[in-house]
């Protein structure tokens, strides 16, 4: 009661008492929501950093700079550097096809794009083993030509590509669908060719959603564990990415080292969040010019935040 009265007098606004839930209900809901956030998100995050720096900054750096550790960082960056551009191109191609053309099987394609979200990453990894492994479908052929996919970089890249495929497409397609293709058609009547329409009209129109999709794709490709663990074989110094390295170190009770890598991944997650906030602020300021969807499934992208 007191809160409502003071609100009315200090703000000079008309009373909204009739529209508001009672104070005790608001208090309970807010406490529940905040409590949940603190307990399940903030505390673990702080703990990751605390554990990493437990024995000082020196040991943190030392854990990261051990040769196997450096290789894991390098491999993770390499995989992301290959996967993110490819999935950006695939995602844009899928979005373009779905929004600009009329064709049979369009709905099937839209559904298939979501498949990696629906399938467990471990299953995805196993599928690649069945296809490209020694006794798999393409196995004999690959063995004959001495080309290793499973337990090697190509397999890790394939698995990561599969898991992170939806991110760019999922961000861009709804936006392009809601904006329609009138602007592209207008550009066409004004004499622009396909290339000009794409670069001068479509890309600027969707740029924030695209950037956001790329960031999510990057965060997930660096953080992917399930699918990659099946195809990589977890050979230290050769096929271990950062998440796999964390698992190895943790199982060997090297807690500080494990948490040092975890801290790096968590930092990546925080950076992703910061960029998301900046982009959303920009979009708001520009009068929602690009129409970025308001809520986006950020948590799905980063296993550290999950």
């Amino acid at each position: 009661m007191a809160a409502t009265v003071s609100l009315r007098t200090s703000g000079g606004k008309p009373s909204r008492r009739g529209l508001q839930d009672p104070l005790w209900l608001r208090a309970i809901l807010i406490t529940l929501a905040l409590g949940f956030l603190v307990l399940f998100l903030l505390v673990p995050l702080v703990y990751v950093f605390m554990a990493a720096f437990e024995k000082g900054f020196g040991l943190f750096l030392k854990s990261l700079s051990d040769p196997d550790g450096l290789h894991a960082i390098w491999l993770t960056a390499l995989v992301a550097a290959i996967v993110v551009p490819l999935n950006t191109v695939f995602g844009l191609a899928a979005a373009w096809a779905i929004t600009q053309f009329r064709f049979r099987g369009k709905n099937l394609l839209i559904t298939l794009i979501d498949l990696p979200f629906a399938v467990s990453p471990v299953v995805a990894g196993l599928v690649f083993v069945l296809l490209f492994g020694r006794n798999g479908f393409f196995g004999p052929f690959l063995f004959e030509h001495d080309f290793k996919v499973i337990y090697a970089l190509p397999g890790i890249v394939l698995a990561t590509l599969f898991v992170t495929f939806p991110f760019v497409a999922r961000e861009v397609i709804p936006l392009m669908q809601s904006q329609g293709n009138d602007e592209e058609q207008a550009a066409l009547t004004l004499g622009a060719n396909g290339f000009q329409i794409f670069w001068k009209v479509t890309i600027p129109k969707i740029r924030w959603a695209l950037i956001y999709g790329i960031i999510l794709c990057n965060a997930r490709s660096m953080g992917e564990f399930g699918a990659v663990s099946v195809v990589s074989g977890m050979i230290r110094g050769q096929t271990n990415t950062m998440p796999l390295q964390i698992e190895n170190l943790y199982n060997e009770y090297q807690t500080v080292a494990a948490f040092s890598f975890a801290a790096v991944l968590a930092l990546l997650a925080l950076l992703t969040l910061v960029i998301k906030v900046i982009i959303e602020a920009r979009v708001q300021r520009q009068g929602n010019e690009s129409g970025l969807p308001v809520s986006v499934p950020l948590v799905a992208a980063n296993p550290v935040l999950r």
Partner: protein, 329 residues
């Protein structure tokens, strides 16, 4: 530029949007494609633009078959219903777009483009707004930017899809007059799509009435209004009642009735006033006459002179066509 549409048909998922449409549009005219939604009017406009390719038939510009050409090669200016301005570009960049995407050898230099943009901004009365973005100007201004952008490529024909559909009533009226004047100065062959019969009649030199993918009638506004070629045109062009008179079924518009006291016969119909609505420039009545309800429109002056109230008996007769012409002009 003269445009011919020859036996054009177009289907979408087995729905015939256009069915064997043949039409000739004389050079320099302002033409309205009028019809209800789903009548094929927008499809016809898009076929002329080259944004849709017809399943059958040909589109001829000035004797040249352009059916297989892209919109750019046809040199059409197209104004979209929601304007489709490039939202990330300024007004000036929007207008310059058509010039700046030309091949290098055909592209005017930056100064020429800038001068042309200024000239077009002046033409559509938007001087000084070149640096704004589309979301910073009003709907009517956006509409004119879309028009300037379409004109920047020196089109040989201007195509407008529901050009006033997204505007409020007052702006719509203003822009309508402005577009008419604009056309009278430029004399560029123009087609616009509308579902608003008043807009078509007021603005166009020629009205093409479409229904279910077929042309119902082509004529001047006066011709289609006063000599409708079909029942559909009768009913679509403004309010009309179907009245049984002397064993015949006849279409009569509310303003075509001449109202007189019952005593001053003879009348074609006699009836009772059952409702009345004073709508400003006209007064509307519903008259129940021989078990049929008839709408009648009367000038406020005549209404005051006769002092009609609900429940009165009145006599009605149709004013002759000659009278209608004299009365209207």
């Amino acid at each position: 530029m003269n445009i011919e549409i020859q036996h054009v048909s177009k289907e979408f998922n087995h729905f015939a949007a256009l069915h064997d449409v043949t039409l000739e549009i004389p050079s320099g005219k302002l033409v309205a494609l009028l019809g209800p939604s789903g009548s094929g009017k927008t499809t016809l406009l898009r076929v002329i633009a080259g944004l849709e390719s017809p399943d059958a038939g040909r589109v001829i510009f000035e004797g040249r078959d352009v059916t297989a050409l892209t919109p750019a090669k046809r040199k059409v200016g197209f104004v979209f219903q929601q304007y489709a301005l490039f939202r990330h570009m300024t007004v000036a960049d929007n207008i310059a777009f058509g010039m700046s995407v030309r091949k290098r050898k055909d592209r005017p230099n930056a100064d020429v483009i800038r001068a042309r943009v200024e000239e077009l901004l002046g033409l559509v009365r938007l001087e000084g707004l070149g640096n704004r973005r589309p979301n910073q100007i009003s709907g009517g201004q956006r509409q004119r930017v879309a028009l300037a952008r379409a004109l920047a490529v020196d089109p040989s024909v201007l195509l407008l899809d529901e050009p006033f559909g997204a505007l409020d009533a007052k702006v719509r009226k203003e822009l309508r007059h402005w577009l008419r004047e604009f056309h009278d100065t430029l004399h560029i062959t123009s087609l616009f799509v509308t579902h608003d019969q008043e807009e078509a009649l007021e603005l166009a030199d020629v009205v093409v009435v479409l229904n279910h993918g077929k042309i119902e009638q082509i004529g001047t506004p006066r011709e289609v209004y006063e000599r409708p070629a079909s029942e559909f045109v009768h009913e679509f062009l403004g309010e009309v009642d179907r009245v049984a008179l002397g064993g015949q079924s006849i279409y009569v518009r509310p303003h075509e009735w001449v109202v007189a006291p019952v005593a001053e016969g003879p009348h074609e119909l006699e009836g009772t006033v059952i409702s009345m609505h004073d709508a400003g420039p006209v007064v509307r009545f519903k008259v129940l006459a021989q078990e049929q309800t008839v709408s009648v429109e009367l000038a406020p002056r005549d209404y005051r002179r006769m002092q009609i109230v609900i429940g009165d008996s009145i006599g009605l007769r149709r004013e002759s066509r000659e009278e209608a012409v004299v009365h209207k002009s």
